[in-house]
């Protein structure tokens, strides 16, 4: 089954628990651990691919290349963050065309103006709602696979009333899901959910604005994509930071050595995530052992 149809079927069944990824390896881990779908965060892709903050530095080419690397190696549906669609209407259309060619199941497009600031940080501005509607309609015009999903994200920069208005008109424009960001009360999310006839995507971030909730609670709010968008990125890089901190302590003390865990064993375990057995079998076929 195409990943787009897979994701539609999953959503039909209930609330899909989706971890974030930022490259092919992290996405493979998600799949191997048994998750049904994977999310690619633009924040994580920007940080790890470019070493830059998520301020729309990353280009369409760069973001979709990461997504393409992911879809090449996983069989579960990928939900990709495409920022604002990377420019104007024509850029949105090219993004949607490429996303379908690359086997992405869903994209998430946002209505923030540059320089973007996620509502969890604050200080951002939204583009006029009509401009976002144009983008959604332009995206739908090049949706060749009817199962391909378009998620409209809108940040709570202008209050709940404006957010509700936008959720309504983006739904009317044809978005498949609404992703409201920065609602601090469950009742606010409920209000948005009740105002529209399409389901929601919700993210769970430690110290983010969206309240943490159970999957059952999310289900009650008609949340179909329940995404832990950034946590995996932070966990990975935080672990790396801690290691580097330990390593840095050697700079001042040349008589010190680090106690290292079972690195090689762990490496082998990690290689299981990238199908090392299959790779080896394949190699044996073409490079017989001497």
């Amino acid at each position: 089954m195409k990943t787009t149809s897979q994701l539609r079927a999953l959503i039909k069944k209930g609330t899909v628990l989706v971890p974030g990824s930022w490259d092919a390896m992290s996405a493979r881990m998600v799949e191997k651990m048994g998750f049904d779908a994977v999310y690619m965060t633009g924040w994580g892709a920007s940080l790890s691919t470019l070493g830059r903050a998520d301020l729309t530095y990353i280009t369409q080419t760069e973001m979709l290349q990461v997504a393409h690397h992911i879809t090449t190696v996983v069989n579960i549906p990928l939900i990709a963050d495409i920022d604002d669609g990377f420019g104007h209407i024509l850029n949105v259309q090219r993004t949607i065309e490429l996303s379908q060619k690359y086997g992405i199941a869903a994209v998430q497009i946002e209505d923030m103006a540059a320089p973007k600031r996620c509502v969890n940080v604050g200080g951002g501005r939204l583009i006029p709602a009509e401009d976002m509607v144009k983008k959604i309609k332009a995206a739908l015009a090049v949706r060749y696979d009817p199962d391909f999903i378009i998620i409209a994200r809108t940040d709570n920069h202008e209050g709940i009333d404006e957010l509700e208005k936008r959720a309504r008109i983006y739904a009317e424009a044809g978005a498949d899901l609404i992703y409201p960001l920065g609602l601090t009360a469950k009742s606010d999310i409920e209000r948005i959910s009740k105002a529209i006839s399409i389901p929601l995507m919700i993210e769970q971030i430690g110290a983010g604005k969206t309240p943490l909730m159970t999957r059952a609670e999310a289900e009650e709010l008609n949340v179909k994509i329940f995404a832990y968008t950034l946590e995996s990125v932070v966990c990975a890089y935080e672990a790396n930071r801690q290691f580097l901190e330990r390593l840095a302590s050697l700079q001042d003390d040349k008589n010190k050595k680090l106690e290292l865990g079972p690195t090689f064993k762990q490496l082998v375990q990690l290689e299981h995530f990238v199908d090392i057995e299959k790779e080896e079998e394949n190699q044996l076929k073409f490079f017989p052992r001497c």
Partner: protein, 287 residues
Amino acid sequence: MKAAKTLRSLMQKGVVLVPGVWNCLSAQMAETMGFEALYMPGSTISVTYVGKPDYAYITQTEMLEMAERVARVVNVPLCVDIDDGFGNPLNVQRTIEICQKIGVAAVQIEDMVPPKRCANVGGGHLGPAEAMVAKIRSAKDAKEDQDFIVIARTDNYEGIDELIRRGRLYAEAGADMLYPVGALTREDFKRISTEVPLPLMDTPLGGGKSPVFSLTESQELNIRLSVYSLDPFATAYRGLMSFLEELNKLHTHRENIMPLEYGIPAMEDFYKICNLDKTEQSVAKYF
């Protein structure tokens, strides 16, 4: 670093005659023929690399990837069309940072808003001058090499007075050159060259709306880069089209034999342009 300095010293001497290039071979060809600087128009990259019209589809990554490939294989300064800088002032800065790293000598940034339309075609719109001023300032701040050249392009959509007003604003913001585009008379160019305190870039264009100046005339109009931007590309692809038209006739005239003009000797010529000698030396040494 060297490329920008070289271009500056060339322009100090007079008008630089610059052909457009759109890939490595066309650039190496121009260099081999003795041209001292090259220019990469966005429209040619858009149609050849992405297969889309030049309506700002092409991304920063795509444009600069080609610029990097070209800059790597030639030793003459390369000027690159960076459209509107590919987004907001932060994108402009990343564009300028990358351009300096990959050895580009000059960039040309424009003040049109999407969907863009060159003033030689018509139907486009300019963004607010202040937005462009912010971009030029952000570009200037991103210069690590002070010789790096930022050329501000402005299309003649709102009349010559507005064009001159913008030229002066862009000069103040830190642009190094001005590139006025669209229906402009000789008199307009004279006014621009006296009223805007910047050297000019000009693109003599087949079918364009402005007069085509000789190098002597260009010199008098304070034009420092005379860029034949599209005609080299158009010439090449017209050639391809004629060939394909001939080849297509074989579909209906199955008894015909295609007269072939170039083939292997031409490939050998092109290899020479791609430094075949150097490769042959390596082959002799290591195989």
